[in-house]
């Protein structure tokens, strides 16, 4: 019998074939949480494969370490097949799935969404110019902003919630306890698995050499994003909770969160994009490379336009920059359930499920 993979294997079957080889080998156990999860099982249902795929963060350590990669007949490429399974799952879980296909695979579509978002904001600013209001609200009233962004924020969240439910039932998740959450959030906050264990990083932009560059860039993006989010949330809180309306001074919470957040987000996204151009595309899901790249660009653009807008305070550039920034944010929010952005949600879900299995 040969373990050559006939081309007729479905994605999940191909992943299962590879995972079973890993389970007989186990050499990569120390890289990440995928391998310990593999060694806890003997047989892998489709849902198990989905769960393993979402535990993988594509560090590629197990590819370069594998003695069974092509031209060996076992043809292992675990990072690639798990990436494909992930993308496939996110598409299946998304509602409507077709949108996920469009935005995941096509950078052009994401760029188009961006253009549409910006154009919409230009239109809103020119058509809905308020008669009074300070700062940004001189260009677009608070009411108009809320009218645009509240649905643009809540709708994607609802779609993601639907997707996560589907994921949870596919991987056989059970009731989530505080302990599960604590373990998962702890791992996520430290991006523990991105550390590569004793290997000190990923095998990414320099082939089989380990570096921390991807981890650091990802840290910057994640914390930058969370700071920006905290900035907006604190603004909302000040507005509604304390009746303090924008614009806020430099030493206000929205600015203290927003400025470093914007800088981190922008720099992190630029580095991630650069790293992505250096890494071997065949070790990820090649079909979504463009979509992922565009998504990183969109993230970076969100941070960069926000910073530019702040820098332009008091000049004539505020109006166009406001449209640019808010349009970017709008495109980002609306495409969230269908873009690479969902990976954060599914990854957290996978970590929670992993914590459940570990402690069951």
């Amino acid at each position: 019998m040969s373990l050559d993979h006939p081309p007729t294997l479905s994605l999940t079957e191909e992943a299962r074939r590879q995972v079973e080889i890993c389970n007989a080998c186990r050499y990569c156990e120390g890289y990440c949480s995928v391998f310990p999860a593999i060694t806890r099982e003997r047989a892998f249902a489709d849902g198990d494969i989905t769960q393993l795929a979402n535990l993988c963060h594509n560090c590629r350590g197990c590819y370069y370490a594998c003695q069974y990669t092509e031209p060996h007949e076992f043809a292992l490429n675990l990072p690639a097949v798990l990436a494909e399974v992930r993308v496939d799952g996110w598409e299946r879980f998304a509602w409507p799935g077709a949108l996920a296909r469009v935005f995941q695979t096509s950078g052009v579509s994401l760029a188009a969404a961006l253009v549409v978002g910006i154009a919409a904001l230009f239109w809103a600013i020119s058509a809905l110019t308020p008669t009074d209001g300070e700062g940004f609200y001189a260009y677009l009233s608070h009411a108009a902003m809320v009218a645009i962004f509240a649905p643009a924020f809540l709708f994607p969240l609802a779609v993601i919630a639907v997707g996560l439910r589907r994921y949870w039932s596919e991987v056989g998740g059970t009731r989530i306890t505080g302990g599960d959450l604590k373990a998962a959030l702890g791992d996520a906050a430290r991006l523990k698995n991105l550390s590569g264990g004793a290997a000190k990083g990923c095998n990414y932009e320099e082939g089989d050499r380990y570096t921390q560059a991807r981890r650091h860039a990802h840290h910057a993006v994640m914390y930058g994003f969370l700071l920006c989010f905290a900035s907006t949330s604190s603004g909302t809180l000040l507005h509604y909770g304390f009746g303090m309306e924008a614009p806020y001074g430099l030493f206000s919470l929205p600015k203290l969160f927003g400025i470093p957040g914007g800088i981190l987000l922008t720099l992190g996204a630029v580095s991630l994009a650069w790293l992505k151009t250096k890494a071997d595309r065949a070790l990820g899901a090649p079909s979504v490379w463009g979509g992922e790249m565009a998504f990183v660009g969109l993230l970076g653009a969100t941070g960069a336009t926000g910073l530019m807008l702040y820098a332009a305070t008091g000049t004539a550039l505020v109006a166009p920059l406001l449209a640019l920034h808010l349009g970017t944010v709008l495109a980002f929010f609306l495409t969230t359930p269908y873009s690479k952005m969902v990976h954060g949600f599914y990854r957290l879900a996978a970590l929670i499920r992993d914590a459940q299995i570990r402690t069951r």
Binding site: M1, S2, L3, E20, I21, N23, A24, C25, R26, Y27, C28, E29, G30, Y31, P36, T39, R42, G61, C62, Y64, A65, C66, Q67, Y68, T69, E70, P71, H72, E73, F74, G197, A198, A199, K200, D208, R209, Y210
Partner: protein, 464 residues
Amino acid sequence: MSDLTQTLWDLIVVGGGNAGLCAAIEAAETGARVLILESAPKAYRGGNSRHTRNFRCMHQGPLSVLTGSYEEEEYFDDLLRVTKGKTDEALARMTIRASEACLPWMEAHGVAFQKSLSGTLSLSRTNAFFLGGGKALVNAYYNTAQDLGVTVAYDAEVTHIAIEDNAFTGLDVTLDGTTTRLKARALVLASGGFQADLDWLADAWGPAARNFLIRGTPYNRGVVLRDMLDQGAQSVGDPTQCHAVAIDGRAPQYDGGIVTRLDCVPFSVVVNKNGERFYDEGEDVWPKRYAIWGRLVAAQPEQVAYCIIDAKSIHDFMPSVYPPETADTIDGLAQKLGISGAKLRDTIETFNAACREGEFMPTELDGLATEGLSPPKTNWARPITQAPFYGYSLRPGVTFTYLGLRVDETARVSGPAGPLDNVWSAGEMMAGSILGEGYLAGFGMTIGTVFGRIAGQEAAAHVA
């Protein structure tokens, strides 16, 4: 290629596995100009070393991932036991003592370690596991060597070593289909054993060897070893001996590596092509017995055997890479395996009748033995009764050969007229100097690392 011929190398290392890389790194660190000639293409560089998972390391207290302590005496005793005394005590003790300093050296040169793998807890004190296995180790060494300015030529098979007046003067290497003479001031030979040359194996073992599977690289064909022996180099080790274990009969001819091992023998009944049992499957725990089963299976008709287990035992061992054959009856299973149903049923029924009551304990010698059966099964003897029934085929899988070059404690090779001026050897190619017989898990990489480093240091001192 012309670049290679135009340089007068300080050191040429033949073979880019663990031993060769350690030698190259040590020499390059002194500033020597080093060339590695590796017969495999880049994707298959690293020979058998790319299939390894750990090395055995002496340590006087917890060290990196190693727990407790593992001192010289215990290590040496372990070695004596497996080699049945066929070892050179001075060389062996030197190797054992030197292993302690190897672990930090390896870490400093890019090797990362991990806790012992699940299912190998018994090795957490004695063996340090490479994160990602031997291929990750090999990659790390190639990167370190590259950073030190070492030149590597792949697809470069060395075919002849020129020796004049007890000294190496140059070698012939096949590059891009043409044979070229390269010159260097010193030579380290680290091109492994000859197990991938089935003709040579058949000469030593008889025609049965053609049915053997080779667990590691197809590139270790012993070309340089034979060339050196033909020129009168002193050898050690028995040419008829090789380390062979029983592996899954469906494994590829070469490079199947670790995943093709089968750990089910102790929990099964093993029969040959004729459906007959031939050895006590429960003699001892599997890690202590898997090596003798290579030979046992090699002695059976067509060099094949079959492990028969039932549903009770299917989860008692590490998962296999190939799924077992499955059937609801013994007859059905026999048919799938291609052996006589009547004979297999008879063997299983006789075996079942010889089983007795008792507590089954899969992880220790439970003494659950058959009664009045020949050959007996002395542990884990549970009747094969519960469908579905499973069957795996077994074949001998050769790990390495023992015949090699004799070296002294400075890794120096001897010709017919005594030690050669400028030739050293390391790794599997000289392992017979210490391992006359048997094998101690993780000792191959220890020998390669210790002697590779020594060979590199000695060669560098020679050209300094």
